[in-house]
């Protein structure tokens, strides 16, 4: 099956083409939805086959599957293939993407029912899956970059999908603006990747992952260069995975339809940054500076996003900030060298966050597009299935034993302590506390308490089966998914951490480099691990109980607290003013330069004044026109003269 891996991206591509070209003519929602879902589902089956084949092989053989389709670019020594690399890491990602992708496709058939652009939605969704699969399956940077840009593009198209709707955001009015913001912010990071690719090609003479990482492992590379390359790659990751400083786009990306938020902005695309670093773990391991920066950025983002999440009232925005925060967790794990833990968390997070988003979509659907949790409450009895699955997802993300979130979060926290520092652990636990708190706040405000919606206009109802079925499957995965990575401490010393074994060969080089950097690694006692685990669990439970005390019954306590700590509340409510700062520091001045100087002065006054004037002047007086025209050309000539004098001066007298 591994040889057939090209079918995995090909099927969604075919789906995209069919729906893209004939979707409107088919004029049948069920058929379009079925084609799209089958395309992705088929890809999942092929990937599953490949996965089963890999499991039957020895761990060394698994890494060596490279399926070359054809040569993409061949110019001199520059050589890029369209080739897919099937190994433990890529197949895991592929399974997540196609598996959850299939569920979300099925869910969308119900969710998008009746939308005037139903086929367009599914075409974009299939295209996205195609791009995402190229991103993770590629055996070289260029193909990954193609996927990287492609998912950005699809994300952009899907955020702006309901372009005629207004969307509230900072400096944003329409969904189109949110899409544009996401795209541009992402492009900043993408160019980092582009330069990194230039540097990699110049240093290694190749852009294939295997060659580059092999060469990196053998050493002898300038440390500064490696730091530059990895930092530039990381810049790309901060864009795609919504980390500081480029994380501002993700909450606004919630302007898109909810299944999009689940698929792209929670389960798959935003974890591309983690993938890129995991894929190039050897390169990253070589630079302590970069690793430290990744750790710092990760934990800072995790904390900031988690605290912002506490005060949000839009159900999707809470989940968006939660996603940013969880991604920060994953980056922290990467930063301390716990690659497996990061990938593990990618997986469990994909399960429960997709579940939560789809659940929120079900709520929004049932509430007639209402997203404000202040206007919900008591929905438990109206939508029981949504409630139960949402509850399971919430427990999972809060990290309660034995749900999946517990294992992955705990592995990250343990690594943060063991390879990092107690402070890092403390910060992580604080973020986890906030997570448990705001997630249960969300749950209580939505499903408990008095019904705050308008009974005359809103009639909450349970969603159709195409929507609840995926919820249940994801709920099951969220509950049990963690069992793939049971730590030694809990298994009584038995080595049953399947995931770690599975991924071990991928990160072997990186781990040995890291080990050589930290020769004085401590050996921590089992008791300590147990203790930390219990502590983090206890803190999460406190968070939940605190949320319950404040929000389970409607009360005025939260409002009083907000009023008491008005300063803090304002900071959180305004997301630490990051958007404002960016707007005032980058966007506004750029416009100002362009508008006030280049446009208003150079263009309007000098050029346009004359051009516009000339139209009038031609009627009034030929002399006038001539005068004005010669005036302007003289200005240009003068500018040229400046250039000429400067260039000659530089050539002759410098």
């Amino acid at each position: 099956m591994v040889e057939l891996i090209y079918l995995v991206p090909l099927l969604p591509l075919i789906g995209f083409l069919i729906i893209g070209f004939f979707g409107k003519k088919l004029n049948n929602e069920k058929l379009v939805g079925a084609i799209a879902s089958i395309a992705v589902g088929g890809a999942f089956l092929v990937a599953l086959g490949a996965f089963l084949q890999l499991t039957g092989e020895s761990s060394e053989a698994r890494t060596e599957h490279i399926v070359r389709l054809f040569t993409w670019i061949q110019a001199g020594s520059f050589h890029i293939d369209i080739a897919y690399q099937v190994d433990q890491l890529s197949i895991l990602y592929t399974l997540i993407i196609t598996g959850i992708g299939t569920l979300i496709h099925i869910y969308s058939i119900g969710y998008m029912h009746g939308d005037k652009s139903f086929p367009r939605f599914f075409a974009y969704l299939n295209l996205f899956v195609f791009m995402m699969l190229n991103l993770v399956l590629a055996n070289n940077f260029v193909l990954t970059f193609l996927g990287w840009e492609g998912v950005g593009l699809c994300s952009y198209l899907l955020i702006g999908f309901w372009y005629d709707r207004k969307f509230e955001g900072s400096h944003i009015v329409w969904t189109g603006d949110a899409a544009k913001k996401a795209f541009i912010v992402n492009r900043i990071g993408d160019f980092g990747v582009l330069i990194a690719m230039c540097l990699i090609y110049m240093r290694f003479g190749s852009l294939e992952y295997t060659t580059v990482n092999m060469a990196a492992a053998s050493g002898g590379i300038d440390a500064g260069l490696i730091t530059a390359i990895t930092l530039l790659l990381f810049l790309g990751c901060t864009g795609k995975s919504a980390q500081i400083p480029l994380g501002i786009w993700l909450p606004d990306a919630m302007a898109g339809p909810t299944p999009v938020s689940a698929l792209i902005h929670a389960a798959t695309m935003v974890t591309a940054g983690i993938f890129l670093i995991a894929r190039n773990s050897t390169l990253f391991a070589l630079s302590d500076t970069t690793m430290a920066i990744i750790t710092g950025v990760g934990i800072t983002t995790a904390l900031i996003a988690a605290t912002i999440g506490i005060v949000q009232n839009d159900i999707k925005k809470v989940l968006a900030y939660s996603t940013v925060s969880q991604l920060g967790f994953m980056f922290m794990a990467l930063g301390v060298g716990a690659y497996t833990a990061a990938v593990f968390h990618v997986m469990t997070h994909a399960f429960f966050k997709a579940l939560l988003f789809l659940g929120s979509g079900s709520v929004i659907h049932g509430m007639h597009e209402e997203q404000d949790i202040q206007k919900m409450g008591g929905l438990k009895k109206y939508m029981p299935q949504t409630y139960i699955t949402f509850l399971l997802g919430t427990i999972a993300i809060s990290g309660i034993f034995p749900f999946s979130g517990f294992f992955s979060k705990d592995e990250i926290l343990w690594n943060a302590y063991a390879n990092g520092s107690p402070i890092l652990w403390g910060a992580g636990v604080l973020a986890a506390f906030c997570t448990a708190f705001y997630m249960f706040r969300l749950l209580y405000l939505t499903f408990y308490g008095e019904e705050r919606f308008d009974h005359h206009h809103v009639h909450p109802h349970e969603s159709p089966v195409t929507m609840t079925l995926p919820l249940w499957i994801l709920a099951i995965l969220s509950v049990f998914g963690g069992l793939l990575g049971i730590p030694k401490a809990l298994s009584g010393g038995a080595d049953i951490n399947i995931l770690e074994h599975w991924l071990e060969p991928i990160f072997a080089n990186a781990n040995s480099i890291l080990a050589s950097h930290h020769t004085n690694a401590h050996h921590h006692s089992l008791a300590l691990e147990w203790g930390l685990m219990a502590a983090s669990l206890a803190i999460a439970i406190i968070g939940i109980l605190y949320a319950a005390s404040l929000y389970k019954k409607s009360s005025s306590k939260p409002a009083e607290m907000a009023a008491k700590n008005k300063g803090l509340y304002n900071i959180l409510w305004n997301k630490y003013f990051v958007d404002e700062i960016y707007h005032n520091v980058f966007v506004a001045p750029m416009y100002k330069i362009s508008l006030d100087f280049l446009w208003k002065i150079v263009d309007v006054q000098i050029i346009d004044g004359i051009v516009n004037g000339s139209a009038r002047a031609i009627a009034v007086s030929a002399e006038n026109l001539r005068k004005i025209q010669s005036g302007i050309a003289q200005n240009y000539a003068l500018m040229m003269l400046f250039g000429i004098v400067a260039i000659i001066a530089w050539m002759v007298f410098a």
Binding site: A75, V602, N635
Partner: protein, 477 residues
Amino acid sequence: MVQDLLFTAPFTFLSVMAIIAMVLDALIVNSSRITFIFSAITLLFSGILGISTFGLHGIGFNGMVTGGGFAAYFDILFSIGGLLTILTSRQYLQRENIEHDEFYSLVLFAVAGMMLIAHSNHLLILFIGIEVMSVSFYILSGYMRNNAKSVESSLKYFLLGAFATGFLVYGIALIYGSTGSMDYNQIALNINNNALNFPALLPVGVALIVIGLSFKAAAFPFHQWAPDVYQGAPTIVTAFMSTAGKAAAFAAFIPIVTVLMPSAPVKLQMIFAVMSAATMLIGNISALAQTNIKRMLAFSSVAHAGYIMMGLVSGSQYGYSGIVFYLTAYMFMQIGSFIIVAILERNGEKYLELSDYAGLSKRHPVLAAFMTIFMFSLAGIPPFAGFFGKYFLFTAAIDAGFLWLTLVGVLSSIISVYFYIGLIVKMYFTEPEGQREDNEVGMSGLSLIITIAGVIVLGILPSGILSIASNLFNSTH
């Protein structure tokens, strides 16, 4: 002699045919249709001649011209540019009511001038080529004689162009005075052997030639004519000037820089780097604030000259092949977007504002989709042609040790995304306003298909052109 003629076959053929086209105009009444077909076929054949002389390699007419390889590649490129222009122009000219027969001959003459530039191995030929091209451009840009802006743009172009030409000629004279030759090979030889008659003149000559060519390429600070001229000129002429014209300027630059670079490598590199950086930034930042699409594309065209100039900074065959690839890609994406502008435009400069593109995806889904692809390509997003172009130029600049230049390039690319995407948002994410006449696509459709195919094929399968481009510089230098 036969060999010599063979080297310049596309040029010779084209100039003879251009003259015949003019004679046809004079002899036949209502000849525009015939001239149109005649010119299109002529360009097709000159392109084919370019392909068939591609394998040749050598110098002809007493060292005046080169043949095959580099020159033939540009012959083909210019023929394609001319062909796309002519295919699109008929409908546009008829609608604007300015279809005079000489239009097609003038396009042919301009292409002939560009070919001379690409073939030149002698400063005299270079100068003649530049002038043939420029004079044709001056006339073409003022072709809408009843339109004040068009006439103004023509005059402005002519005045400033003459100013720049003066410096170019002076530069040629100084180079001659210093090296005792106008033949590229001889100049290179004398510079490398330090056999200079008057060494002090050389740097000034080099500077002036660079200045003259930078004007043609519309690089800062010699770019200011470009937005005005591009906006005022008939749209199809703008498409032609801003692509083929720019390609011709760089076709002149590459051999000249190869010859002159050794005289002051560090200084010249720095000049190109600074010009490139400033051009990219100013072009893109200015484009940001435009509301007129022609003007926006004009500023973006200035910015692209900056990107291309990064290839000159490197002074290596890697950079040059990057330039050749970028010019090819740029030809398709820029002409393509101008064709769409020309299709939607109406007399009296109607529908040229960005707001006129609101909801285009509703009215013309195909045109909107094509425009989107062109914009993505211009913004350098894979898998379209523009991406690889940028990649190779950026790598070349880093390779030459100009990381800061690449960073400026990246910064300005990010700025450019803003307005390219802005147009797409307009087309897709806003509702159309008001009723609009139907837009006929007609023959423009053919050139649209060629350009879109070019953009996509160069993006998905760039190897062919890329290996050709890099071989151009392996064999000759």
